[in-house]
Amino acid sequence: MNGHQGSIRERWFWRLAVMGAAAFGGLAVATWAPAGQAAHSGAAGQMAQPVAVAAQAGPRIEIAKHKYSSPTLTVPAGTTVTWLNRDEDVHTVVSTTQAFRSPGLETDEAYSYKFTKPGVYEYFCTLHPLMTGKVIVK
Protein backbone atom coordinates (compact mmCIF):
# COMPACT_ATOMS: atom_id res chain seq x y z
CA MET A 1 0.00 0.00 0.00
CA ASN A 2 1.47 3.32 -0.90
CA GLY A 3 0.71 6.86 0.13
CA HIS A 4 -0.88 7.65 -3.20
CA GLN A 5 -3.62 5.12 -2.78
CA GLY A 6 -4.13 6.30 0.77
CA SER A 7 -4.54 9.88 -0.33
CA ILE A 8 -7.12 8.93 -2.94
CA ARG A 9 -9.14 7.18 -0.32
CA GLU A 10 -8.84 10.10 1.99
CA ARG A 11 -9.97 12.54 -0.68
CA TRP A 12 -13.11 10.53 -1.20
CA PHE A 13 -13.63 10.28 2.47
CA TRP A 14 -13.56 14.02 2.92
CA ARG A 15 -15.62 14.84 -0.15
CA LEU A 16 -18.45 12.61 0.87
CA ALA A 17 -18.20 13.47 4.52
CA VAL A 18 -18.63 17.13 3.62
CA MET A 19 -21.69 16.21 1.59
CA GLY A 20 -23.15 15.16 4.87
CA ALA A 21 -23.43 11.49 4.12
CA ALA A 22 -25.32 9.99 7.01
CA ALA A 23 -24.09 6.92 8.76
CA PHE A 24 -26.09 4.20 7.14
CA GLY A 25 -24.99 1.79 9.80
CA GLY A 26 -25.68 -1.02 7.44
CA LEU A 27 -22.21 -1.57 6.10
CA ALA A 28 -19.13 -2.83 7.80
CA VAL A 29 -16.21 -2.08 5.59
CA ALA A 30 -12.54 -2.30 6.27
CA THR A 31 -11.22 0.62 4.27
CA TRP A 32 -7.77 -0.86 4.38
CA ALA A 33 -8.10 -4.48 3.52
CA PRO A 34 -5.02 -6.26 2.29
CA ALA A 35 -5.08 -9.95 1.50
CA GLY A 36 -5.93 -11.98 4.54
CA GLN A 37 -7.46 -9.05 6.39
CA ALA A 38 -10.92 -9.21 4.94
CA ALA A 39 -12.62 -10.07 8.21
CA HIS A 40 -14.65 -6.87 8.24
CA SER A 41 -15.39 -6.45 4.58
CA GLY A 42 -19.07 -7.15 5.20
CA ALA A 43 -21.33 -5.92 2.42
CA ALA A 44 -18.71 -3.84 0.68
CA GLY A 45 -19.51 -5.43 -2.64
CA GLN A 46 -22.78 -3.57 -2.90
CA MET A 47 -21.25 -0.33 -4.10
CA ALA A 48 -18.25 0.98 -5.91
CA GLN A 49 -15.34 1.27 -3.52
CA PRO A 50 -15.22 5.04 -2.86
CA VAL A 51 -18.93 5.23 -2.18
CA ALA A 52 -18.74 2.29 0.15
CA VAL A 53 -16.03 4.07 2.08
CA ALA A 54 -18.19 7.13 2.56
CA ALA A 55 -21.24 5.11 3.42
CA GLN A 56 -19.76 4.22 6.77
CA ALA A 57 -19.12 7.82 7.74
CA GLY A 58 -19.88 7.23 11.38
CA PRO A 59 -17.75 8.54 14.21
CA ARG A 60 -14.15 9.07 13.28
CA ILE A 61 -11.16 8.85 15.57
CA GLU A 62 -8.03 10.55 14.35
CA ILE A 63 -4.62 9.24 15.27
CA ALA A 64 -2.10 12.03 15.72
CA LYS A 65 1.04 12.53 17.79
CA HIS A 66 0.74 9.00 19.10
CA LYS A 67 -2.75 9.56 20.50
CA TYR A 68 -6.27 8.49 19.60
CA SER A 69 -8.32 11.68 19.43
CA SER A 70 -11.23 10.13 21.35
CA PRO A 71 -9.67 7.70 23.79
CA THR A 72 -13.15 6.81 25.03
CA LEU A 73 -16.03 6.78 22.58
CA THR A 74 -19.59 5.73 23.35
CA VAL A 75 -21.78 4.60 20.44
CA PRO A 76 -25.02 2.67 19.91
CA ALA A 77 -24.79 -0.90 18.68
CA GLY A 78 -24.57 -1.06 14.92
CA THR A 79 -22.23 1.92 14.63
CA THR A 80 -19.23 1.78 12.36
CA VAL A 81 -16.23 3.58 13.80
CA THR A 82 -13.38 4.75 11.60
CA TRP A 83 -9.82 5.43 12.68
CA LEU A 84 -7.70 7.68 10.49
CA ASN A 85 -3.94 7.88 10.92
CA ARG A 86 -2.54 11.41 10.66
CA ASP A 87 0.96 10.51 11.88
CA GLU A 88 3.95 9.61 9.77
CA ASP A 89 4.49 6.66 12.06
CA VAL A 90 2.56 3.51 11.30
CA HIS A 91 -0.12 2.75 13.86
CA THR A 92 -2.64 0.00 14.43
CA VAL A 93 -6.00 -0.41 16.12
CA VAL A 94 -6.07 -3.79 17.78
CA SER A 95 -8.63 -5.07 20.27
CA THR A 96 -7.15 -6.43 23.49
CA THR A 97 -9.42 -9.46 23.02
CA GLN A 98 -8.63 -9.70 19.31
CA ALA A 99 -12.24 -8.81 18.47
CA PHE A 100 -10.81 -6.63 15.70
CA ARG A 101 -7.36 -5.99 14.37
CA SER A 102 -6.34 -3.39 11.82
CA PRO A 103 -3.30 -3.80 9.63
CA GLY A 104 -0.55 -1.20 9.90
CA LEU A 105 -2.02 2.16 8.95
CA GLU A 106 0.23 4.50 7.04
CA THR A 107 -0.29 8.26 6.91
CA ASP A 108 -3.88 9.09 5.85
CA GLU A 109 -4.94 5.49 5.85
CA ALA A 110 -8.12 4.54 7.66
CA TYR A 111 -9.63 1.46 9.21
CA SER A 112 -13.26 0.87 10.11
CA TYR A 113 -15.05 -1.63 12.27
CA LYS A 114 -18.76 -2.09 12.86
CA PHE A 115 -19.69 -2.70 16.47
CA THR A 116 -22.75 -4.93 16.50
CA LYS A 117 -22.86 -6.08 20.13
CA PRO A 118 -22.98 -3.98 23.31
CA GLY A 119 -19.88 -4.07 25.45
CA VAL A 120 -16.63 -2.32 26.23
CA TYR A 121 -14.01 -2.77 23.54
CA GLU A 122 -10.51 -1.83 24.62
CA TYR A 123 -7.87 -1.44 21.96
CA PHE A 124 -4.29 -0.30 21.51
CA CYS A 125 -1.54 0.25 18.97
CA THR A 126 0.63 -2.83 18.66
CA LEU A 127 3.65 -0.73 17.67
CA HIS A 128 3.23 1.86 20.40
CA PRO A 129 1.41 0.11 23.23
CA LEU A 130 1.14 3.25 25.35
CA MET A 131 -1.51 4.32 22.84
CA THR A 132 -4.78 2.93 24.17
CA GLY A 133 -8.47 3.61 23.73
CA LYS A 134 -11.88 2.09 24.18
CA VAL A 135 -15.22 2.04 22.48
CA ILE A 136 -18.27 1.61 24.69
CA VAL A 137 -21.16 0.10 22.73
CA LYS A 138 -24.63 0.50 24.27
Binding site: K65, H66, D87, E88, V90, T107, L127, H128, P129, L130
Partner: protein, 324 residues
Amino acid sequence: MNDDVNHVRNTDGPEVSGGDGVDRRGFLQCMAWAGTGLVWTATGGILSSVTLRQAAAADADAVGSFSFVQISDTHIGFKGEANKDALGTFEQALARIKALEQAPAFIIHTGDLTHAQKPGAFDTVTEALKGTKAEQVFYVPGENDVFADGGKEYLGRFGGSTGTGWQSFDYKGVHFIGLINVLNFKAGGLGSLGQAQLDWLKKDVDRLPSSTPIVVFAHVPLWAVYPKWGWVTDDGGQALSYLKRFGSVTVLNGHIHQIMQRVEGNISFHTALSTAFPQPAPGVGEGPGPLKVPAEQLRSLLGVREVNYIQGKSRLAIVDSTLA
Protein backbone atom coordinates in the same frame (compact mmCIF):
# COMPACT_ATOMS: atom_id res chain seq x y z
CA MET B 1 22.56 21.42 13.63
CA ASN B 2 20.37 20.13 16.36
CA ASP B 3 22.26 20.42 19.61
CA ASP B 4 20.09 17.82 21.30
CA VAL B 5 21.10 15.17 18.87
CA ASN B 6 24.73 16.03 18.44
CA HIS B 7 25.55 15.95 22.08
CA VAL B 8 26.23 12.82 23.99
CA ARG B 9 24.80 12.90 27.44
CA ASN B 10 25.16 11.21 30.74
CA THR B 11 22.38 11.63 33.22
CA ASP B 12 21.75 10.35 36.68
CA GLY B 13 17.98 10.56 36.80
CA PRO B 14 15.55 8.00 35.51
CA GLU B 15 14.76 10.26 32.58
CA VAL B 16 17.00 12.28 30.35
CA SER B 17 16.56 15.85 31.39
CA GLY B 18 18.55 17.49 28.65
CA GLY B 19 20.95 19.31 30.95
CA ASP B 20 24.60 19.05 30.16
CA GLY B 21 27.29 19.23 32.79
CA VAL B 22 29.19 16.90 35.02
CA ASP B 23 27.41 14.19 36.94
CA ARG B 24 28.23 13.20 40.46
CA ARG B 25 30.53 10.43 39.40
CA GLY B 26 32.70 12.98 37.75
CA PHE B 27 32.44 11.72 34.21
CA LEU B 28 32.80 14.20 31.45
CA GLN B 29 29.30 14.56 30.27
CA CYS B 30 29.02 16.16 26.95
CA MET B 31 30.97 15.68 23.82
CA ALA B 32 29.93 17.40 20.64
CA TRP B 33 31.06 16.31 17.27
CA ALA B 34 29.77 16.71 13.79
CA GLY B 35 31.02 14.14 11.41
CA THR B 36 34.73 14.72 11.79
CA GLY B 37 34.93 11.62 13.97
CA LEU B 38 36.11 11.52 17.52
CA VAL B 39 36.92 8.51 19.59
CA TRP B 40 36.43 8.68 23.29
CA THR B 41 38.00 6.40 25.75
CA ALA B 42 38.26 6.45 29.50
CA THR B 43 41.37 5.99 31.55
CA GLY B 44 40.94 6.12 35.28
CA GLY B 45 37.45 7.50 34.86
CA ILE B 46 38.57 10.49 32.81
CA LEU B 47 37.24 10.61 29.31
CA SER B 48 39.42 11.91 26.57
CA SER B 49 38.97 12.25 22.89
CA VAL B 50 41.32 12.03 19.97
CA THR B 51 40.66 12.21 16.27
CA LEU B 52 39.89 9.05 14.37
CA ARG B 53 43.20 9.11 12.55
CA GLN B 54 45.21 9.43 15.75
CA ALA B 55 43.28 6.59 17.29
CA ALA B 56 43.87 4.32 14.34
CA ALA B 57 47.60 5.01 14.38
CA ALA B 58 47.94 4.48 18.11
CA ASP B 59 46.00 1.26 18.17
CA ALA B 60 47.06 -0.36 14.94
CA ASP B 61 49.37 -2.77 16.66
CA ALA B 62 47.08 -3.75 19.50
CA VAL B 63 46.60 -7.49 19.68
CA GLY B 64 43.03 -8.77 19.75
CA SER B 65 41.61 -5.42 18.77
CA PHE B 66 38.77 -5.16 16.30
CA SER B 67 35.93 -2.93 15.27
CA PHE B 68 32.33 -3.50 14.35
CA VAL B 69 29.55 -1.32 13.03
CA GLN B 70 26.14 -0.60 14.50
CA ILE B 71 23.44 0.40 12.04
CA SER B 72 19.90 1.04 13.20
CA ASP B 73 16.37 1.96 12.23
CA THR B 74 16.80 1.70 8.49
CA HIS B 75 12.98 1.72 8.08
CA ILE B 76 13.11 0.47 4.50
CA GLY B 77 9.78 1.31 2.92
CA PHE B 78 9.38 4.64 4.73
CA LYS B 79 8.16 7.31 2.31
CA GLY B 80 6.97 10.05 4.66
CA GLU B 81 7.71 13.75 4.63
CA ALA B 82 10.56 13.34 7.09
CA ASN B 83 12.61 11.62 4.38
CA LYS B 84 11.30 10.88 0.91
CA ASP B 85 14.36 8.80 0.14
CA ALA B 86 15.02 6.52 3.09
CA LEU B 87 16.46 3.95 0.70
CA GLY B 88 18.92 6.54 -0.60
CA THR B 89 20.14 7.52 2.85
CA PHE B 90 20.43 3.83 3.76
CA GLU B 91 22.66 3.35 0.74
CA GLN B 92 24.70 6.36 1.80
CA ALA B 93 25.19 4.75 5.17
CA LEU B 94 26.37 1.57 3.45
CA ALA B 95 28.86 3.61 1.45
CA ARG B 96 30.20 4.99 4.73
CA ILE B 97 30.66 1.48 6.04
CA LYS B 98 32.41 0.35 2.88
CA ALA B 99 34.71 3.36 3.07
CA LEU B 100 36.00 2.56 6.56
CA GLU B 101 39.77 2.14 6.56
CA GLN B 102 39.50 -0.97 8.65
CA ALA B 103 36.72 -3.28 7.49
CA PRO B 104 34.42 -4.04 10.42
CA ALA B 105 34.55 -7.58 11.78
CA PHE B 106 30.76 -7.64 11.60
CA ILE B 107 27.71 -5.43 11.60
CA ILE B 108 24.99 -5.25 14.22
CA HIS B 109 21.57 -4.00 13.15
CA THR B 110 19.58 -2.84 16.15
CA GLY B 111 16.13 -3.14 14.64
CA ASP B 112 13.42 -1.55 12.58
CA LEU B 113 15.04 -2.93 9.47
CA THR B 114 11.71 -2.35 7.75
CA HIS B 115 9.04 0.26 7.95
CA ALA B 116 5.97 -1.70 8.95
CA GLN B 117 7.14 -4.95 7.38
CA LYS B 118 6.85 -3.65 3.83
CA PRO B 119 7.01 -6.48 1.31
CA GLY B 120 10.57 -7.02 0.15
CA ALA B 121 12.08 -4.74 2.79
CA PHE B 122 13.81 -7.52 4.73
CA ASP B 123 15.43 -8.70 1.50
CA THR B 124 16.55 -5.17 0.63
CA VAL B 125 18.32 -4.79 3.96
CA THR B 126 19.94 -8.20 4.14
CA GLU B 127 21.14 -8.14 0.54
CA ALA B 128 22.56 -4.63 0.86
CA LEU B 129 24.42 -5.42 4.08
CA LYS B 130 25.95 -8.49 2.44
CA GLY B 131 27.52 -6.04 0.01
CA THR B 132 29.65 -4.54 2.78
CA LYS B 133 32.95 -6.11 3.70
CA ALA B 134 31.65 -7.38 7.01
CA GLU B 135 31.83 -11.13 7.41
CA GLN B 136 28.56 -11.35 9.24
CA VAL B 137 25.51 -9.32 10.20
CA PHE B 138 23.62 -9.80 13.45
CA TYR B 139 20.06 -8.58 13.80
CA VAL B 140 17.55 -7.84 16.52
CA PRO B 141 14.05 -6.73 15.52
CA GLY B 142 12.26 -3.47 16.12
CA GLU B 143 8.51 -3.23 16.55
CA ASN B 144 8.14 -2.35 12.87
CA ASP B 145 9.61 -5.74 11.98
CA VAL B 146 7.25 -7.87 14.03
CA PHE B 147 3.97 -6.08 14.77
CA ALA B 148 1.96 -7.39 11.82
CA ASP B 149 2.58 -11.09 12.28
CA GLY B 150 3.89 -11.43 15.82
CA GLY B 151 7.42 -11.87 14.52
CA LYS B 152 6.67 -14.85 12.30
CA GLU B 153 8.56 -13.59 9.27
CA TYR B 154 11.39 -12.08 11.27
CA LEU B 155 11.97 -15.19 13.37
CA GLY B 156 11.68 -17.37 10.29
CA ARG B 157 14.57 -15.43 8.79
CA PHE B 158 16.66 -14.54 11.80
CA GLY B 159 15.37 -16.66 14.67
CA GLY B 160 18.29 -19.05 14.58
CA SER B 161 18.19 -22.67 15.60
CA THR B 162 16.08 -22.01 18.68
CA GLY B 163 13.63 -19.82 16.78
CA THR B 164 13.51 -17.34 19.63
CA GLY B 165 15.79 -14.79 18.00
CA TRP B 166 17.76 -13.80 21.07
CA GLN B 167 21.39 -14.76 20.80
CA SER B 168 24.91 -14.51 22.13
CA PHE B 169 28.30 -15.05 20.62
CA ASP B 170 31.93 -14.48 21.45
CA TYR B 171 34.39 -12.56 19.36
CA LYS B 172 38.03 -12.15 20.34
CA GLY B 173 37.26 -12.36 24.02
CA VAL B 174 34.21 -10.08 23.98
CA HIS B 175 30.82 -11.58 24.75
CA PHE B 176 27.98 -10.19 22.61
CA ILE B 177 24.31 -10.55 23.55
CA GLY B 178 21.38 -9.68 21.27
CA LEU B 179 18.08 -9.24 23.10
CA ILE B 180 14.53 -8.86 21.78
CA ASN B 181 12.24 -6.42 23.57
CA VAL B 182 9.57 -5.70 20.96
CA LEU B 183 7.50 -8.88 20.96
CA ASN B 184 4.24 -9.40 22.81
CA PHE B 185 3.49 -5.77 23.48
CA LYS B 186 0.57 -5.40 25.89
CA ALA B 187 -1.94 -2.54 25.90
CA GLY B 188 -0.54 0.26 28.04
CA GLY B 189 2.75 -1.57 28.32
CA LEU B 190 6.35 -0.95 27.32
CA GLY B 191 9.18 -2.79 25.68
CA SER B 192 9.76 -6.06 27.46
CA LEU B 193 12.10 -9.02 27.40
CA GLY B 194 9.90 -11.57 29.16
CA GLN B 195 10.78 -14.19 31.73
CA ALA B 196 11.98 -16.85 29.28
CA GLN B 197 14.53 -14.48 27.78
CA LEU B 198 15.62 -13.21 31.20
CA ASP B 199 16.17 -16.80 32.36
CA TRP B 200 18.20 -17.50 29.24
CA LEU B 201 20.28 -14.36 29.78
CA LYS B 202 21.05 -15.19 33.38
CA LYS B 203 22.23 -18.64 32.39
CA ASP B 204 24.17 -17.26 29.45
CA VAL B 205 26.30 -14.91 31.54
CA ASP B 206 26.55 -16.97 34.74
CA ARG B 207 29.42 -19.01 33.31
CA LEU B 208 31.50 -15.97 32.35
CA PRO B 209 34.27 -14.44 34.48
CA SER B 210 33.57 -10.87 35.51
CA SER B 211 36.53 -9.68 33.48
CA THR B 212 34.78 -10.58 30.22
CA PRO B 213 33.85 -7.45 28.27
CA ILE B 214 30.12 -7.56 27.47
CA VAL B 215 28.26 -5.89 24.63
CA VAL B 216 24.45 -6.00 24.73
CA PHE B 217 22.35 -4.91 21.78
CA ALA B 218 18.58 -4.51 21.57
CA HIS B 219 16.13 -2.22 19.81
CA VAL B 220 14.25 -0.33 22.54
CA PRO B 221 16.58 1.29 25.10
CA LEU B 222 17.18 -0.96 28.09
CA TRP B 223 17.31 2.04 30.37
CA ALA B 224 14.62 4.65 30.99
CA VAL B 225 15.35 7.24 28.32
CA TYR B 226 11.80 8.59 28.36
CA PRO B 227 9.07 6.29 29.69
CA LYS B 228 6.23 8.67 28.72
CA TRP B 229 7.04 7.95 25.09
CA GLY B 230 7.68 4.29 25.66
CA TRP B 231 11.43 4.73 25.37
CA VAL B 232 12.23 2.14 28.00
CA THR B 233 12.19 -1.62 28.56
CA ASP B 234 10.08 -2.43 31.58
CA ASP B 235 12.14 -5.43 32.69
CA GLY B 236 15.43 -3.98 31.43
CA GLY B 237 16.58 -3.45 35.00
CA GLN B 238 16.31 -7.15 35.69
CA ALA B 239 18.50 -7.93 32.70
CA LEU B 240 21.06 -5.34 33.75
CA SER B 241 21.19 -6.77 37.28
CA TYR B 242 22.76 -9.90 35.78
CA LEU B 243 25.47 -7.77 34.21
CA LYS B 244 26.43 -5.50 37.11
CA ARG B 245 29.32 -7.68 38.23
CA PHE B 246 31.13 -7.32 34.91
CA GLY B 247 33.89 -4.77 34.59
CA SER B 248 32.86 -3.52 31.15
CA VAL B 249 29.34 -3.58 29.78
CA THR B 250 28.37 -1.63 26.67
CA VAL B 251 24.67 -1.43 25.78
CA LEU B 252 23.76 -0.46 22.22
CA ASN B 253 20.17 0.48 21.39
CA GLY B 254 18.19 2.07 18.59
CA HIS B 255 14.51 3.05 18.44
CA ILE B 256 14.81 6.72 19.37
CA HIS B 257 16.77 7.83 16.28
CA GLN B 258 19.23 10.01 18.17
CA ILE B 259 22.42 9.67 20.11
CA MET B 260 22.13 9.52 23.86
CA GLN B 261 24.49 8.17 26.39
CA ARG B 262 24.40 7.30 30.02
CA VAL B 263 26.94 5.70 32.31
CA GLU B 264 25.94 3.71 35.37
CA GLY B 265 28.86 2.15 37.17
CA ASN B 266 30.55 -0.13 34.68
CA ILE B 267 27.62 -0.07 32.27
CA SER B 268 27.51 2.46 29.47
CA PHE B 269 24.40 2.95 27.37
CA HIS B 270 24.36 4.32 23.85
CA THR B 271 21.44 4.91 21.52
CA ALA B 272 22.14 5.28 17.82
CA LEU B 273 21.12 7.45 14.91
CA SER B 274 18.72 6.09 12.31
CA THR B 275 19.57 6.02 8.62
CA ALA B 276 15.98 6.97 7.74
CA PHE B 277 14.67 9.92 9.76
CA PRO B 278 15.27 11.75 13.06
CA GLN B 279 12.88 11.91 15.99
CA PRO B 280 12.40 14.73 18.49
CA ALA B 281 14.46 14.93 21.64
CA PRO B 282 12.66 13.33 24.61
CA GLY B 283 9.67 15.38 25.69
CA VAL B 284 10.10 18.00 22.98
CA GLY B 285 6.79 18.46 21.19
CA GLU B 286 3.62 16.45 21.57
CA GLY B 287 5.01 13.04 20.92
CA PRO B 288 7.59 10.86 19.22
CA GLY B 289 7.62 10.08 15.52
CA PRO B 290 9.35 11.06 12.30
CA LEU B 291 10.67 14.61 12.58
CA LYS B 292 10.73 16.76 9.47
CA VAL B 293 13.73 19.05 9.42
CA PRO B 294 15.04 21.39 6.71
CA ALA B 295 16.42 19.28 3.86
CA GLU B 296 19.95 20.58 4.36
CA GLN B 297 19.91 19.37 7.97
CA LEU B 298 18.57 15.89 7.42
CA ARG B 299 21.83 14.09 6.76
CA SER B 300 23.46 15.60 9.83
CA LEU B 301 20.83 13.77 11.90
CA LEU B 302 21.28 10.37 10.27
CA GLY B 303 24.27 8.10 10.56
CA VAL B 304 26.07 4.94 11.52
CA ARG B 305 28.32 3.96 14.40
CA GLU B 306 31.68 2.29 14.55
CA VAL B 307 32.68 0.60 17.79
CA ASN B 308 36.32 -0.18 18.47
CA TYR B 309 37.50 -2.69 20.98
CA ILE B 310 41.08 -2.33 22.06
CA GLN B 311 42.32 -5.28 24.03
CA GLY B 312 43.35 -4.26 27.52
CA LYS B 313 41.13 -1.19 27.60
CA SER B 314 38.01 -1.48 29.64
CA ARG B 315 35.82 0.81 27.58
CA LEU B 316 34.92 0.40 23.97
CA ALA B 317 35.43 3.44 21.78
CA ILE B 318 32.25 4.63 20.15
CA VAL B 319 32.53 6.63 16.94
CA ASP B 320 29.33 8.03 15.52
CA SER B 321 29.38 9.43 11.99
CA THR B 322 26.58 11.36 10.38
CA LEU B 323 25.75 11.24 6.69
CA ALA B 324 26.37 14.97 6.32
